[in-house]
């Protein structure tokens, strides 16, 4: 019985961790690699959820497909956002505090616009697989959690390969380390950063679609994820995509085990304790460069 609970908790934790990774991925790029404290990222995820909801409700498309279809628009929005951020703050060297305030502001504006346009009622999506499960012996897996995990894994792998195998991807990794060296390689740091923020915001479209598959969404629900996703990015090591995925899975499994055996109230606390202990031992995070 205990073994059954334990294994089920581990599996549930891995699936939950996959979802956390999807939400944290965009932040890992902006915060981890570009040094942009994009506190509005969870709000973009909620916009992703609403976009998915609208497509699902009006066209009846699968929520994940809807999220993927929305990525080009989100990418474009991310590029524009960076242009604005660059002109207003980064160019004048005011990005540290003013930039943080800027993204805080964006978060509230996004929330209020969503409330004004769509109201505050909870939104949910329909899909055939929501509510169904698959079983392997005594392990029961809700597809509502499995589908987000699979999509999150594909997306994380995709971003990882892009960043490590392509010229532009490597340039993104380089831009936060040495702007001058990057310019000497013939790449424009501003363009590279806007590409990176575009990708980061595009991941929010998919993460949003995963969130609304798992549960109901209303405009302010993103706030609940801010602490957790920042913790994941820092725990994984700033800028490491693999680290983000590992940290997300770790937090997911720990939360799930604590919720099963000790009490769900302690789950987030234990996640943060792990973060603190890890930072005490390895200040750069699990996979961060020293």
């Amino acid at each position: 019985m205990v073994l059954e609970l334990f294994l089920n908790a581990v599996v549930a934790g891995i699936l939950l961790g996959g979802f956390y990774a999807a939400v944290a991925l965009g932040l890992s790029i902006t915060f981890g690699q570009l040094d942009i404290v994009n506190i509005a990222h969870p709000a973009f995820v909620i916009v992703g959820s609403y976009t998915t909801y609208i497509i699902n409700e009006s066209l009846g498309l699968d929520p994940i497909l809807a999220g993927v279809l929305a990525t080009p628009i989100f990418f474009g929005a991310g590029v524009l956002l960076y242009r604005f951020y660059y002109v207003s703050f980064e160019r004048t060297g005011q990005e540290s505090l003013s930039g943080l305030a800027f993204f805080f502001g964006i978060m509230f504006i996004v929330e209020v616009v969503l409330i004004m346009v769509y109201g505050v009622d909870y939104r949910l999506v329909e899909a055939d697989y929501i509510g169904k499960t698959i079983s392997f012996g005594f392990i029961i897996i809700p597809i509502r959690m499995l589908a987000p995990f699979l999509m999150a894994s594909v997306m994380t792998l995709g971003v990882y390969l892009y960043l490590s195998r392509t010229f532009n991807g490597r340039a993104i990794l380089a831009v936060s380390q040495d702007r001058l060296a990057l310019q000497l390689m013939g790449a424009d740091p501003v363009k590279i950063k806007q590409l990176a923020l575009g990708i980061a915001v595009a991941t929010a479209a998919v993460a949003g679609s995963l969130l609304i598959i798992i549960g109901p969404v209303e405009p302010s629900v993103g706030r609940l994820y801010i602490g957790r996703v920042f913790a994941i990015v820092i725990l994984g090591g700033m800028g490491s995509i693999g680290g983000t995925m590992t940290a997300a899975l770790m937090i997911g499994v720990v939360e799930s085990l604590v919720a099963t055996f000790y009490g769900p109230s302690w789950a987030p606390a234990v996640g943060f304790i792990i973060l603190l202990v890890t930072l005490a031992i390895r200040p750069q995070g699990l996979f961060g460069r020293a």
Binding site: Y122, E218, A259
Partner: protein, 421 residues
């Protein structure tokens, strides 16, 4: 005549003129005051977690204002609202009420929506000795014992325990009687209060509590919790949850095959049309609290007209489109305030409070009589059971037959299906 005398006469003439002008102008200014609107002040959750309810409440309150102003206003004066968004943040509430009373100088105050937003206003209201009609606070006055506090949610005189009394009364009537129970609550004031009462009721009934935990806001996956509950194999599961948790728990329980004999209790969200539509048949069998449902036993005068107006106004505003849960009560608490002010014939807070203690009011949610602590003198927290719910159809909830009233007996509209399947 001396110079001193002249000054004295002038003084007398001037003061006489002043007195005359006061005498002439005084009635004028009181007429002007009579024409001034009566200002009702409140804070309301228009953004943040409870905004869904707060916005719906505001629509209902505005319908009341339109109705009363059309009928000539209160004490012959038009009614005006002064309100601010508390963003579902309890910390903002004291500042809002201070401003309403000291800057806006409102004549009457009512509360925001929900326990967490009502409690922080209490010290300010109490200092000014104002009548405070409140909207859906659970056991707020337990700690304050304020004699001018009146609460419209029909929880009953012992709110914490009355809240779940129906659930346990029904359980006690079943054969064989359930023996074990799992309690789960969201980590927030309202849910914890509800489950605290359930714990007492469970102990009174001699149930063995096999699981008793809370979960934090922001929980995305409920399957570990549902599995842990399932492992204790309880006869009953009583849950105090908010909408995201309610949906997650119902889905998880269904996916993982958690089938106790009774399931539900104090789950917020299962009363909202959009969530009902999405959960569809997963709701069948769940026994949960509610306050008003369109069953034949609860057709009070005015409620259908009110809902028609509400549903029209709610269109496109992103609030609950049917509005069965909260809006009728948001209308009723102002209806009661209006009736009390009219009966007293003034804004004298003491007299209004006396009237509120002594009278049974006729409202769209039925007859309302407050007890000594400002809660309903007798509980009317309904326990309803979802029945024959079909997938993907919101309109089915507009009429009777989907949420059967099982408790209290005088409002009962059908028999329980037990055990829950």
């Amino acid at each position: 005549m001396t110079r001193g005398n002249k000054v004295g006469i002038r003084k007398w003439v001037l003061s006489g003129l002043l007195m005359m002008s006061i005498a002439i102008l005084a009635p004028l200014s009181s007429t002007a005051r009579a024409a001034e609107p009566i200002k009702i002040g409140f804070s309301m959750a228009l953004t943040g977690g409870l905004a869904g309810a707060g916005k719906a409440a505001l629509i209902a309150m505005e319908i009341w204002r339109e109705d009363i102003n059309k009928a000539g206003g209160l004490l012959g004066r038009q009614v005006e609202f002064v309100y601010y968004d508390d963003a579902t943040s309890p910390a903002k509430v004291p500042g809002i009420y201070t401003k309403l009373l000291n800057v806006d100088k409102v004549d009457l105050v009512v509360s925001s929506y929900g326990t967490n937003e009502i409690a922080p206003a209490m010290p300010i209201i109490m200092r000014k000795k104002l009548v405070f009609l409140s909207l859906f606070g659970l056991a707020v006055n337990d700690k304050f014992n304020y004699d001018r506090y009146f609460q419209i949610m029909p929880a009953g005189p012992v709110p914490k325990e009355d809240w779940s009394r129906g659930f346990f009364t029904l359980a006690a009537e079943q054969s064989p009687k359930p023996k074990t129970i799992a309690l789960l609550s969201a980590d927030a004031e309202f849910a914890r209060n509800g489950v605290a009462g359930a714990r007492k009721n469970a102990k009174k009934m001699g149930l063995n509590i096999v699981y008793d935990k809370t979960y934090p806001p922001g929980t995305a996956d409920f399957s570990p919790i549902v599995r842990a509950i399932k492992a204790t194999n309880p006869d009953m599961v009583f849950i105090g949850s908010y909408p995201p948790g309610s949906v997650g728990l119902v889905k998880s329980a269904n996916e993982l095959g958690l089938k106790p004999k009774m399931f539900g209790g104090s789950m917020v969200g299962l009363q909202f049309a959009s969530i009902q539509k999405n959960l569809g048949p997963l709701l069948n069998g769940i026994i949960n609290y509610d306050f008003w449902v369109p069953e034949p036993t609860l057709k009070f005068a005015g409620v259908e007209e009110f809902l028609k107006k509400y549903q029209e106004k709610a269109k496109g505003k992103g609030v609950d489109p049917l509005g069965h849960y909260l809006p009728p009560f948001a209308y009723a608490y102002l209806q009661i305030l209006g009736q009390a002010v009219t009966a007293v014939g003034s804004l004298d807070q003491g007299k209004i409070a006396e009237h509120l203690h002594a009278t049974t009011y006729k409202t769209v949610v039925g007859p309302v009589k407050f007890g000594a602590n400002g809660e309903w003198a007798k509980t009317r927290t309904l326990m309803v059971q979802f029945r024959d719910v079909k997938p993907n159809d919101m309109s089915q909830f507009e009429g009777p037959g989907k949420r059967i009233v099982l408790y209290p007996k005088e409002w009962k509209s059908g028999e329980i299906v037990y055990p829950y399947k």
